[in-house]
């Protein structure tokens, strides 16, 4: 049994040592907002926050997250109020198919925590998630808007 604190709540799960956090979230606890894209750390669709830092959960054993605060896309809003990054995403109409966007948003939240006023270069360096729909311009605009707001 391992205990994970997800979006402020403790969950006990019976998962083996090697089981990546992604699958504990998606298939055992039904936090399906975190997506599977590649399973090898190459796309960022599975990005969550572990103690505030962006982590690709497909390549991160769940046991390592014990004792840490895990935040998924479902835990970003504060009650009924969206996180400013989520709101910026809506205002910029950033999602197309939307499948990459949970991961993009989590990566952006981590970036803004680190660098509240990121430059385009900061965004290039931090935002390495794939968007197959190619919504990069809207994502960039949304990050800048969130930094202002």
């Amino acid at each position: 049994m391992i205990t994970l604190t997800i979006n402020g709540k403790a969950h006990s799960v019976d998962a083996e040592e090697a089981m990546p956090l992604l699958w504990v979230l998606r298939d055992i606890l039904n936090f399906t907002g975190t997506k599977y894209g590649c399973g090898v750390g190459a796309c960022g669709a599975c990005t969550v926050l572990v103690d505030g830092a962006a982590v690709r959960s497909c390549s991160y054993p769940a046991v390592l997250a014990q004792g840490k605060a895990i935040t998924t896309i479902e835990g970003l809003a504060d009650g009924g109020t969206l996180h400013k990054v989520q709101q910026a995403w809506i205002d910029a109409q950033a999602p197309q198919c939307g499948f990459c966007q949970s991961g993009q948003i989590m990566a952006a939240v981590a970036l803004l925590k680190e660098k509240p006023q990121p430059t385009d270069e900061d965004i290039d360096a931090a935002m390495t998630n794939i968007c197959r729909c190619g919504a990069y311009a809207e994502i960039r605009a949304a990050i800048h808007a969130a930094a202002k707001g």
């Binding site: 992604l22 669709a45 896309i73 935002m127």
Partner: protein, 740 residues
């Protein structure tokens, strides 16, 4: 269009349960309309047409027969209807139609096919015939592909439905108030008679409107009166995509659901000979190993355990006839096919053979492009649950109706016993079109052998290696430029040809031209990929046009211009792209620009790309300017995003994309070796639209069509190296200045 309307479209109106109104604008006879009423009308609501329902609370629910893939169609179609209805947009909601014939757009598509344009992709009619042959069911399309949703359902269906519903509401109000119809105005879901000061909401008048016949040929609004169409409207589907609540196929969860992970024969066409199931069955959470003819599937209590257990198996395959295939052997086969007589002729005008034979100098070039994967962000998957003789299916499909019929056929059940539930879709790009629903068929086969609900998942590796790929292609081009710098002959021979027919054509005034093609040269499963044949032919034709410009010693923009004198829309778009990019001013140091123009799915698009070569010798694309004439734009926000996204999609292919084959298997496994454009390499894009008022063109695919040629032409301008094989990352340019 009038012809289409009269022949194919039947209107009907009726009251429904709950004291409401149904008005149908249907492409199908009355019994289908009844069906729509059963499905679409709810207690206390009024269904106006098969595509709209007006509630007593004055709400307007537009029923959309297409799938949302991020192209915004779940918003743009309701916009078109609401515009003609004079609806209050804040009251408008969207619902995706059930996979039922009442909501098919087949009649509309067929009407266009017959009457209006040659630009409807063949894949729209293909699956219809396929299914019709194989089932006794009358079959109709809900296909979302070929940029057809807005062009057909929207223009011919939504608009007329909105206008007809409005006309009936006006009639009802006129009768109730004893005034002349012409004296009633409508705005924001209200009917107003100014002289008497009477007014009513649509909801209040809907039931009375049911008593009137649905009018045919109601005049549509002139564009200058639009209040909703042409405005940037926020998409309905976006809020659920920023808080994790949107349910994609992979997110479907049912009590007791199991997860199935599949490994199909690594060699195309191979069969499963045998597999020792024990290593998988010994692993935690594994309940079952299912053997299919050409695949092995492990069923477990979560995806990861199924995946790990599948990796523990050593299936033995009968690799079959394709075990020796390589990319090189496939390309060699294409080259050989092009030298043989008896190529099919796609089109011809003038006498290209004579013009080539009589020329002093012939410009020749050979181009090659590889296979490509669709690689949508969400891998292929389907969830099924068989309960007795009833089957439920969940997933994202570009055509829900075909999915339903295929599921029924696979399960050996009547179509009526199958329920198809649409989920959100993590990209399609063609992979989820009717002909390529292998994941659905396999999920049903697995579901027949598993107790309870089961979700079949392709891992990214399985998805990458077992697609219906954008086909590889070789082209041989021959052209002649006369002493005045005019192209007098243009012969395009290509292996192979798919869709749409327009992709091989261009609007350059060239007296002798022809396109010929070889077939049967692609042994891999292949199919429609965003913009279909434009991805190959756009690159071939627009690169060769650049080569001809060079042979003529002319500027690539001026040269194209000179050949487009009789194509004013093309000319306008080409000139706008040149103007936007500062074509006649020098590019920044270390950079150069290239230009390209295509007409795709009714939209004309010219692009200029600005490139450099990095210190690593690899090309960089810094900026792309797109000038686009789609006739008209429904939702400008969505439209621009689609052009930009389509451009990125084409750019990923041009710079990086290659699916290669060795020993009959796909080599590339994941995003680690099938790279795509990311934020840091995404060019700055500027999109400008010319709304010429011509018939509405597509948005999702045109951006993909010209970009490879624009980039290649820019690389030539910069380096003098003409790259004729994609992707560009494999070309050798030598180290550049690394200009940023």
């Amino acid at each position: 269009m009038g012809k289409v309307t009269r022949r194919l479209v039947i209107f009907g109106g009726a009251a429904v349960a709950g004291g409401g109104l149904l008005v149908g604008y249907a492409t199908l006879p009355w019994q289908t309309l009844d069906r729509a009423r059963q499905i679409g009308a709810r207690e206390g609501e009024t269904l106006v047409a098969t595509w709209v329902r007006i509630g007593k609370d004055n709400s307007v629910t537009v029923i959309v027969p297409h799938s949302e893939m991020g192209q915004g169609v779940h918003t743009s179609l309701p916009m078109m209807l609401a515009e003609e209805l004079d609806a209050d947009w804040s009251l408008v909601r969207m619902e995706q139609a059930p996979a039922d014939m009442a909501f098919a757009n087949q009649g509309l598509a067929r009407g266009f096919l017959d009457d209006l344009t040659g630009s409807v992709p063949r894949f729209l009619s293909g699956p219809l015939d396929f299914v019709a042959r194989k089932t006794a069911e009358a079959m109709n399309l809900q296909t979302t592909g070929g940029s057809t949703s807005v062009r057909f359902t929207g223009v011919a269906g939504m608009r007329r439905t909105g206008a007809a519903a409005r006309a009936m509401l006006v009639k009802a109000a006129a009768a109730a108030w004893g005034v002349d119809e012409a004296s009633i105005t409508t705005e924001n879901s209200r009917l107003v008679h100014a002289a008497s000061g009477k007014s009513a909401t649509y909801g209040e008048m809907a039931e009375a409107a049911a008593k009137f016949d649905v009018p045919v040929d109601v005049p549509l609004k002139p564009r200058k009166d639009y209040k909703i169409v042409g405005k940037p409207i926020r998409r309905f589907d976006i809020p659920a995509k920023v808080d994790g609540s949107a349910v994609y196929g992979l997110d479907k969860r049912l009590p007791g659901m199991r997860f199935a992970v599949i490994a199909a024969s690594p060699v195309f066409g191979g069969k499963l000979k045998s597999v020792d199931e024990k290593p998988a069955l010994a692993m935690r959470g594994v309940s079952q190993v299912v053997k299919l003819e050409d695949a092995v599937v492990v069923v477990a209590d979560n995806t990861w355990r199924a995946k790990e257990a599948l990796a523990a198996l050593s299936p033995v395959w009968d690799e079959g006839a394709n075990a020796g295939l390589t990319s090189a052997s496939i390309i060699a086969g294409m080259d050989a096919a092009l030298t043989k007589d008896g190529l099919s002729e796609e089109y011809a005008s003038g006498d290209v053979d004579a013009a080539l034979a009589g020329a002093k100098k012939v410009v020749e070039a050979r181009y090659v492009v590889p296979y490509l994967a669709h690689a949508p962000m969400e891998v292929m998957n389907t969830t099924v649950h068989l309960e007795g003789d009833r089957l439920s299916v969940w997933g994202g499909f570009q055509d829900g109706l075909t999915a339903r019929v295929l599921a029924a056929k696979t399960a050996g059940l009547p179509v009526d016993n199958v329920t198809l539930n649409h989920t959100a879709m993590g990209g399609g790009f063609g992979r989820r079109l009717p002909d390529y629903m292998d994941y659905l068929v396999r999920a049903v086969k697995v579901g027949l052998q598993v107790k309870g609900p089961v979700q079949l998942v392709y891992t990214r590796e399985e998805d990458m290696t077992h697609g219906f790929f954008r086909h590889a292609s070789v082209a041989r081009m021959r052209g002649v430029v006369d002493d005045k710098g005019r192209v007098t002959a243009f012969l395009n021979t290509v292996a192979e040809r798919h869709d749409p027919p327009e992709a091989g054509r261009f609007n350059y005034a060239i007296p002798n031209q022809a396109m010929r093609y070889a077939s049967g040269t692609n042994p891999l499963p292949w199919g429609a990929w965003r913009s279909v044949d434009h991805t190959q032919l756009g690159f071939f034709i627009e690169t060769f046009m650049d080569e001809l410009a060079h042979a003529a010693g002319q500027d690539p923009h001026a040269f194209r211009r000179a050949h487009l004198a009789s194509a004013p829309r093309h000319l306008a778009v080409l000139d706008l792209a040149a103007e936007m990019s500062g074509w006649n001013t020098p590019a920044p140091a270390g950079r150069a620009r290239g230009i390209s123009i295509r007409e795709a799915f009714g939209t004309i698009i010219a692009q200029v790309a600005e490139v450099s070569i990095g210190a690593d010798g690899l090309p960089r694309v810094h900026r792309v300017w797109s000038a686009v004439d789609p006739g008209e734009v429904i939702n400008p926000a969505t439209f621009t995003a689609q052009i930009e996204g389509g451009t990125i999609f084409g750019l990923s292919a041009a710079l990086h994309g290659a699916i290669t084959v060795d020993k009959g298997r796909v080599v590339e496994q994941n995003f680690t070796d099938y790279e795509m454009v990311r934020m840091a390499d995404a060019p700055v894009q500027v999109v400008k639209v010319i709304e010429s008022g011509a018939a509405t063109g597509g948005a999702g695919e045109p951006g993909t069509a010209p970009i490879a040629a624009a980039v290649g032409n820019a690389l030539f301008a910069l380096t003098g190296v003409r790259v004729r094989a994609l992707p560009f990352r494999l070309a050798r340019f030598g180290a550049g200045e690394g200009a940023k």
